[in-house]
C-alpha cells in the first residue's frame, strides 16, 4: 500500500513538474515580455533595463527555477494588464467557479451513476440502449450552444430564469444544467464499464452460484465494489469541469476563474493564463492522485499491482 502510494506520488510529482515547464514555455513563447512591460514606445535601453529588473536576461532554466521557487511560495507574478498579483486574482474568482462546478458535479453524479449501474445490470436491453443514446445525445451537444439554447428557452421565451450574472442561486441553475449535461455522458459510460467489470468478476459469479438472490448480489456485493469506478469518475469529471469552466462562465457572464482565463487570453495577459493552466493541471493531478489512493484503500488488490 505505502509502496503504491509513494510510486503514484512520484509519478504525480514528475507530471506536475513537466506541466509547470509546459506552462512556463507557453509564457515565454508568447513573445518578449520585456517589450510588453515597457510599452509600445519604449526606448531600447528602457527595454534592456526592464528585462534586467525582471530577470528576463538570465538563461531560461534559471528563469524557470526563479519562477518555480516563487510559485511554490504562492507568488505567481503579476498580471500584465492590471498589475495585480495573479494569486489574488485567481483566489478572488475561485468561489464562483466552485459554486458552478461542485453542485453541477453532484447533480450529474446523481443522474449518471444510477443510470450507468442500471444500464450495466441490464446490458443490451432497452434501458441500456436508452441510457447509451442519452449519452450519445448529451456528448454531441456543444456546451456553448446548449447554454445559448437554454438562455433562449428559459430566459427569453419562458422568462423563468435570469440569463446572466451571479447575484442569486437562480443565476446558477442554467450553468449547472449546462455543465451537468456536459459531463453526464462521460460519467455514465465510465460507471457502466466499471460496473460491468464488477459484475463479470469471480466473486459475483460465486455469490450467484451459491444461490443468493439477485437483490442480495446487487446490493451487498456488486454496488459496494462499484463505488471504485465512481470515485475515479468523480475525480476525472471534476478536472474536466474545471478545464471547461471557461465556456459556461463566458456565456453566462459569471466572474469565475474560467472567465478570468478567457479575458486574460484575449488581452494576451500570459502570466495569468499560464498560472491558471498550471493551477487547473495541478488540480487534475491532485484529484486523480487522491482517487487512486482512495481506490487503493478501498480495494487493497490495487495497491499490490
Amino acid at each position: 500500500m505505502l509502496r503504491f502510494v509513494l510510486r503514484r506520488l512520484q509519478i504525480a510529482l514528475l507530471v506536475a513538474i513537466t506541466v509547470s515547464i509546459v506552462g512556463f514555455s507557453l509564457l515565454r513563447a508568447s513573445g518578449d515580455i520585456a517589450l510588453v512591460l515597457a510599452g509600445e514606445n519604449a526606448k531600447p535601453e528602457e527595454v534592456v533595463r526592464i528585462s534586467h529588473a525582471y530577470g528576463l536576461d538570465k538563461p531560461l532554466y534559471m528563469q524557470y527555477l526563479d519562477w518555480g521557487a516563487k510559485a511554490l511560495s504562492g507568488d505567481l507574478g503579476r498580471s500584465l494588464f492590471t498589475n495585480e498579483p495573479v494569486t489574488g486574482l485567481i483566489l478572488d474568482r475561485l468561489p464562483v467557479t466552485i459554486y458552478v462546478a461542485v453542485p453541477a458535479l453532484v447533480i450529474s453524479l446523481l443522474i449518471a451513476v444510477p443510470l450507468g449501474v442500471l444500464a450495466a445490470t441490464r446490458p443490451n436491453t432497452w434501458i441500456d440502449r436508452a441510457a447509451l443514446s442519452f449519452a450519445v445525445t448529451g456528448s454531441a451537444l456543444p456546451s456553448f450552444w446548449l447554454a445559448l439554447m437554454l438562455i433562449y428557452l428559459f430566459g427569453v421565451m419562458l422568462r423563468w430564469l435570469p440569463i446572466s450574472g451571479s447575484d442569486s442561486w437562480w443565476h446558477f441553475v442554467m450553468p449547472w444544467i449546462t455543465v451537468a449535461i456536459g459531463v453526464i455522458p462521460l460519467q455514465m459510460r465510465l460507471t457502466r464499464t466499471g460496473m460491468l467489470d464488477v459484475l463479470s468478476s469471480d466473486f459475483i459469479r460465486t455469490a450467484r452460484a451459491k444461490g443468493l438472490s439477485a437483490a442480495s448480489v446487487m446490493f451487498k456485493h456488486a454496488l459496494r465494489n462499484a463505488i471504485l469506478p465512481v470515485v475515479s469518475v468523480a475525480a476525472v469529471s471534476l478536472g474536466f469541469l474545471l478545464g471547461n469552466s471557461l465556456v459556461v462562465e463566458s456565456v453566462f457572464a459569471l466572474n469565475g476563474v474560467g472567465m478570468l482565463a478567457y479575458q486574460s487570453i484575449l488581452r494576451l495577459d500570459f502570466p495569468v493564463v499560464q498560472s491558471i493552466i498550471v493551477f487547473i493541471s495541478f488540480c487534475y493531478i491532485f484529484l486523480t492522485l487522491m482517487s487512486d489512493v482512495i481506490n487503493a484503500k478501498l480495494d487493497p488488490r490495487i495497491g499490490l499491482r
Binding site: I11, L14, V15, A16, T18, V19, V22, L26, A29, S30, G31, P123, V136, T137, S139, A140, L141, P142, S143, F144, W145, L148, M149, I151, Y152, V156, R192, T193, L196, L242, G243, N244, L246, V247, S250, A261, Y262, I265, L266, L268, F270, V273, Q274, I276, I277, I280, S281, Y284, I285, T288
Partner: protein, 310 residues
C-alpha cells in the same frame, strides 16, 4: 462430389445444400459485411456523414451564393419557413446580408477539413507512441505513459485557446494545435493492444527470423491495431469538430469572414433574441453531425472489432 464441382449459384434446396453451407463457413470479410448491413446506426450515421461530406466537396459548384458576398439591402431575411422567408435564401441571410445556406455549406468544408486533418495528425502521433510503448515495454513504455499522463493533466481547451492567441487562428494552425492535443486516446488503446500482442507467437516468429524492430512494428503490429485506430479516429473526428466549434465560437479559432460552424453561432449570438435561427441552424448542424459521426464510429467498432464493445 469434389469441392471444385460446386457451383455456388447452383444450390438446390435439400439436405445436400445444408451440408455444403456447413462445409463453407462465411469468411471473416463476409461476416463483417453481414454485420455492417444489419447495423442501423452505421447505415444512418455513415449515410448522413457521407451526405454532408459530399455536399461539402461539391459546395463551390452547388452553393447558391458566394459566402462572403454582403448585401446590406437583404439583411436578416428569415429562412424559408419564417414569416418573411423567400425562395431566394432558403436559410435566410445573416446580419451582413450574406446567404446563410452558402455560409453553412462553406463552413462545413472548413470544419470538416480541420476535423479530418487534425484527427490524422493525432492518430499518427498517438498510435506511434502507443505501439512503440506497448511493444518495447520497460523504460520506453514508462516514458510513453508519462507523456500520456502529462497530456491528460493539461486542460486542452485552455492550452489550445492560448496557443491560438499566440500563433493566430489560421486553419493550418488549428489543425496542428488540435491534432497535438487529442492523441491520448489513440496512445492509450494502441498501447494496451500492443502490450497484449507483444507476447503472441507471430511476433516471436518474426523476431526469430531476424526481423528488425521497425519491420515488426510496421508489418506485424500496425495491421493488428489498424481497426482500433480507425474506430478511434472516426469517434475523435466528432470530438475535433466540437473543439474547433468552441474555439471558433470563443473567437480564437477560425477567423472571420471565413465561415465555420462554431463561428456562425458566435456571429448569430448578438441577434439570437429576435433571429434565433441564426444560432439554431449552425448549432443543430454541429449536433447532428457529431451524433452521426458517433453512430458511424460505434457502428464501425461493432463491425471491425466486435470484441471491443463496452
Amino acid at each position: 462430389m469434389a469441392i471444385s464441382d460446386i457451383n455456388p449459384a447452383g444450390f438446390v434446396r435439400g439436405p445436400a445444400s445444408d451440408e455444403i453451407f456447413e462445409a463453407l463457413p462465411p469468411s471473416p470479410r463476409e461476416l463483417m459485411r453481414r454485420r455492417a448491413r444489419s447495423h442501423g446506426g452505421l447505415i444512418f450515421g455513415g449515410g448522413f456523414v457521407l451526405l454532408v461530406v459530399a455536399l461539402a466537396i461539391l459546395t463551390p459548384w452547388i452553393a447558391p451564393y458566394d459566402p462572403y458576398n454582403q448585401d446590406l439591402s437583404a439583411r436578416l431575411i428569415d429562412p424559408i419557413w419564417g414569416a418573411k422567408g423567400s425562395w431566394a435564401h432558403l436559410l435566410g441571410t445573416d446580419a451582413l446580408g450574406r446567404d446563410f445556406l452558402s455560409r453553412l455549406m462553406y463552413g462545413a468544408r472548413v470544419s470538416l477539413t480541420i476535423s479530418a486533418c487534425a484527427s490524422l495528425i493525432s492518430a499518427i502521433v498517438g498510435a506511434t507512441l502507443g505501439i512503440v510503448g506497448g511493444y518495447f515495454g520497460g523504460r520506453i513504455d514508462g516514458f510513453v505513459s508519462y507523456l500520456i499522463n502529462v497530456k491528460l493533466s493539461l486542460p486542452p481547451l485552455l492550452v489550445s485557446l492560448s496557443l491560438v492567441s499566440v500563433v493566430g487562428g489560421s486553419v493550418t494552425a488549428l489543425i496542428f494545435i488540435i491534432g497535438f492535443l487529442t492523441w491520448d486516446r489513440y496512445a492509450v488503446v494502441t498501447r494496451s493492444v500492443s502490450m497484449q500482442l507483444r507476447n503472441q507467437e507471430f511476433i516471436a516468429a518474426a523476431q526469430a527470423v531476424g526481423a528488425s524492430h521497425t519491420r515488426i512494428l510496421l508489418t506485424e503490429l500496425l495491421p493488428n491495431v489498424m481497426n482500433q485506430i480507425i474506430v478511434i479516429a472516426s469517434l475523435e473526428m466528432a470530438v475535433v469538430i466540437l473543439i474547433e466549434s468552441v474555439l471558433s465560437f470563443l473567437g480564437l479559432g477560425v477567423q472571420p469572414p471565413t465561415p465555420s460552424w462554431g463561428l456562425l453561432v458566435a456571429e448569430g449570438r448578438s441577434f439570437m433574441f429576435f433571429k434565433p435561427y441564426l444560432i439554431v441552424i449552425p448549432g443543430l448542424t454541429i449536433f447532428l453531425m457529431v451524433i452521426a459521426i458517433n453512430l458511424a464510429g460505434d457502428g464501425l467498432r461493432d463491425v471491425l472489432s466486435p470484441e471491443g464493445r463496452n
